[in-house]
């Protein structure tokens, strides 16, 4: 979790540097040459050591996660980000809450486990994470 958290911070810092304007226009084609999970650890060092934020709690703007609003709050202590809290995230949508009693099906459950299998591509909830980055970038913008 630690490394992925820093990857988020790195990308948010990159967004700040790129001057994140309105959603949908920032980021030039080719800016992200590899998928996000491949962001290397070596890249993180200068950003994290070079970046010094003001202490305090900073709330980012509400970002549209496509399916709903998302907003984060960054807590900075001694110049470093100590935590990022998600204040809102897309979990309720639509007005109707009436849902049938689905016949309890033959669903199987398991504990998730990291797989050591070679894959060609990865499926994950990227849109939400990009909204997260936009909100975090605006929170960190206030901490500079």
């Amino acid at each position: 979790m630690k490394s992925s958290f820093f990857a988020y911070v790195l990308t948010a810092a990159a967004l700040l540097g790129a001057g994140s304007a309105t959603a949908g226009t920032w980021g030039s084609p080719g800016m992200l040459s590899t998928p996000a999970p491949q962001i290397g650890g070596a890249l993180l060092e200068p950003v994290l050591s070079g970046q010094h934020y003001k202490d305090g709690t900073f709330t980012g703007q509400v970002a549209d996660a496509y399916y709903g609003p998302l907003q984060v709050q960054a807590v900075v202590q001694n110049g470093a980000i100590t935590s990022v809290n998600v204040l809102t995230y897309p979990k309720d949508r639509g007005q109707s809450r009436r849902i049938n009693n689905y016949a309890l099906p033959r669903l199987q459950q398991e504990v998730i486990q990291a797989q050591n299998v070679r894959v060609n591509m990865v499926s994950g909830a990227t849109l939400t994470s990009r909204a997260y980055l936009r909100s975090l970038a605006s929170a960190l913008g206030q901490a500079q």
Binding site: A7, S33, P35, P37, V86, R97, E110, V111, G124
Partner: protein, 249 residues
């Protein structure tokens, strides 16, 4: 083999073509398609068709056939999901992004197929349509990202020509991950992956079922032609009865 990743529509879009006869122009045409979709249907662009419609500058009768199709798909999805999927926002504006994404990926794959290609995938923000075999002549394998750790996958899936999409929320802190089940209460779903007959089907139902929370995976189970894999925030995954047929060993 040709492959590129570009940041468009607020997400990384990867196109890989494994056909030996692939031409760079086919890759460019795919990105041009996404650029056109973004120009025309982006909720965030003030000059897009959807923005014109939201501002009342064009009427329903003036809509393009493509936007009509998108609205029709949205309406179907709303009905099929008992209202959980709705492109109308609380402020009354229509944001069809939840349909446009899967629709754009499906159409990109159709363009590639119609240009004679047989082995490729299109991945836009983790929603994927693949066809044929990879450059090694093997079936494409898609990893499902660990919602607790970006760098890990928790399942490898052979989609066999189907579309795959994942909806999820950001995980709030690592401390919530408990790999040992300590109680029998249902925990909040943080990631839901759906396989559908194409990526449009997978995407719209992943979005709808994710909004349903814990009952979403039951909804997927009850829908014909859909399989799903839901991860709760206690680290427990629930899979539909037919999902196992797609798991790569």
């Amino acid at each position: 083999m040709l492959r590129d990743t570009r940041l468009m529509m607020n997400m990384p879009i990867t196109v890989e073509i494994a056909d030996a006869a692939a031409l760079p122009g086919q890759l460019e045409a795919t990105y041009a398609h996404f650029a056109a979709v973004d120009r025309r249907f982006s909720f965030f662009r003030p000059d897009s068709e959807i923005s014109l419609y939201n501002r009342g500058e064009i009427t329903e009768t003036q809509l393009s056939p493509e936007l009509r199709e998108i609205f029709t798909l949205a309406q179907h999805t709303k009905i099929q999901s008992h209202g959980y999927f709705d492109i109308r926002r609380p402020d009354g504006l229509l944001n069809p992004s939840g349909i446009v994404k899967g629709w754009a990926i499906r159409n990109a794959a159709r363009l590639l197929r119609d240009s004679g290609l047989r082995h490729f995938y299109v991945d836009a923000g983790g929603d994927i349509q693949s066809m044929g075999l990879n450059a090694d002549g093997q079936p494409w394998v898609i990893g499902i990202r660990n919602p607790f750790n970006d760098a890990e996958i928790i399942k490898a899936v052979k989609p066999q020509g189907r579309g795959m999409a994942t909806s999820g929320s950001y995980v709030r802190g690592a401390h919530i991950y408990n790999p040992h089940r300590t109680n029998t209460e249902l925990a909040e779903i943080i990631s839901l992956t759906v396989l559908g007959k194409d990526v449009l089907e997978a995407d719209r139902f992943a979005t709808a079922a994710f909004a349903m929370g814990q009952t979403g995976i039951n909804f997927i189970e009850d829908m014909p032609d859909l399989e799903g894999y839901a991860v709760a925030r206690d680290g427990i995954a629930t899979r539909t009865s037919g999902f196992g047929a797609f798991v790569a060993s």
